[in-house]
């Protein structure tokens, strides 16, 4: 049986092969003939803010009353960290299906928090679903990884794909 952390890492590997900001930075740095570690550093520096707000999302998921926090953010016209995708609109991203099922089966209280927040947003006509930051934060919470460490889950899952992307785009002529 797949461990939930293993499944999260598998999902990140899949996501890293899409044209998201961090993977694009890897490719662009490789094309500019920057060293691999520079490219990885550039990719890491894309994280945070609206791109992969894992720490913010984990803090949200650790709130005892997520409903009121989400409601407050919506009332203020703010986005909710951990929800919404630039790749899949109008429904959940199927890449998270197995992970979501694992949370549903083995970590019901966390799954219910995520579902409650999602329903609240849908009730407000915001048709967004949990994204990679949300699932990363959720797995961190249920596996007792603190929020100052949890972004490492993102890195662990994406690193192999990043190295491949770099190698595929690195063709030095200088």
């Amino acid at each position: 049986m797949t461990d939930i952390t293993d499944e999260l890492l598998r999902v990140h590997d899949t996501l890293a092969r899409r044209e998201n900001m961090s993977s694009v930075y890897i490719a662009q740095n490789a094309m500019a003939e920057k060293p691999l570690l520079d490219a990885i550093a550039a990719a890491i520096l894309t994280l945070g803010g609206r791109h992969g707000p894992i720490v913010m999302t984990q803090e949200l998921l650790e709130e005892p009353d997520i409903r009121s926090v989400v409601q407050d953010r919506l009332d203020q016209g703010l986005l909710v960290p951990g929800w919404g995708s630039g790749f899949v609109k109008g429904g959940p991203d199927r890449v998270f299906d197995d992970l979501d099922e694992m949370l549903h089966t083995d970590h019901q209280s966390m799954w219910k928090k995520m579902a409650e927040a999602t329903r609240l947003m849908h009730d407000k006509d915001k048709w967004v679903w949990p994204n990679a930051a949300c699932y990363t934060a959720a797995v961190a919470v249920v596996t007792s990884v603190p929020s100052d460490i949890s972004p490492s889950l993102f890195l662990r899952g994406r690193l192999d794909a990043w190295v491949e992307i770099y190698a595929n785009n690195y063709n030095p002529r200088l």
């Binding site: 429904g91 979501d100 579902a115 329903r119």
Partner: protein, 115 residues
């Protein structure tokens, strides 16, 4: 509301499928008291699921047991949409529209917290 029975599979599959089918019946076929749907969760050789029409308004829905729960719910919704089409005499096409609608329905019941 239509009468639904679920057999086969594992306990959590049976209970989830029963809840989802009831939910579907409530929102999509509320006035179908005479419709009977028997769902069997079993090993299928070449598909995730199918539906066959029996006598009168009796339908047999078969679902492949070796699929994830969310996939199973999408398959269930797909087949129940066909039941609805049979009942309304609107069955036709290539199933693409049903596929899209079944995803929306399956996601809605999944996130509802009922399961």
């Amino acid at each position: 509301m239509m009468c639904i029975s679920v057999t086969g599979g594992k306990q959590h599959q049976r209970s989830s499928v029963a809840i989802a089918a009831d939910w579907f019946a409530g929102i999509a076929m509320p006035d179908s008291d005479r419709v009977v749907v028997e769902v069997r969760i079993q090993n299928l050789t070449d598909s995730w699921g199918w539906v066959s029409e029996g006598d009168g308004s009796v339908y047999l829905v078969s679902l492949e047991r070796n699929q994830g729960l969310r996939s199973m719910l999408r398959t269930l919704m797909h087949e129940l949409l066909h039941v609805r089409q049979y009942e309304r005499g609107t069955w036709g096409g290539d199933g693409e529209r049903e596929a899209e609608a079944s995803e929306v329905l399956a996601d809605a019941v999944w996130i509802s917290g009922l399961i």
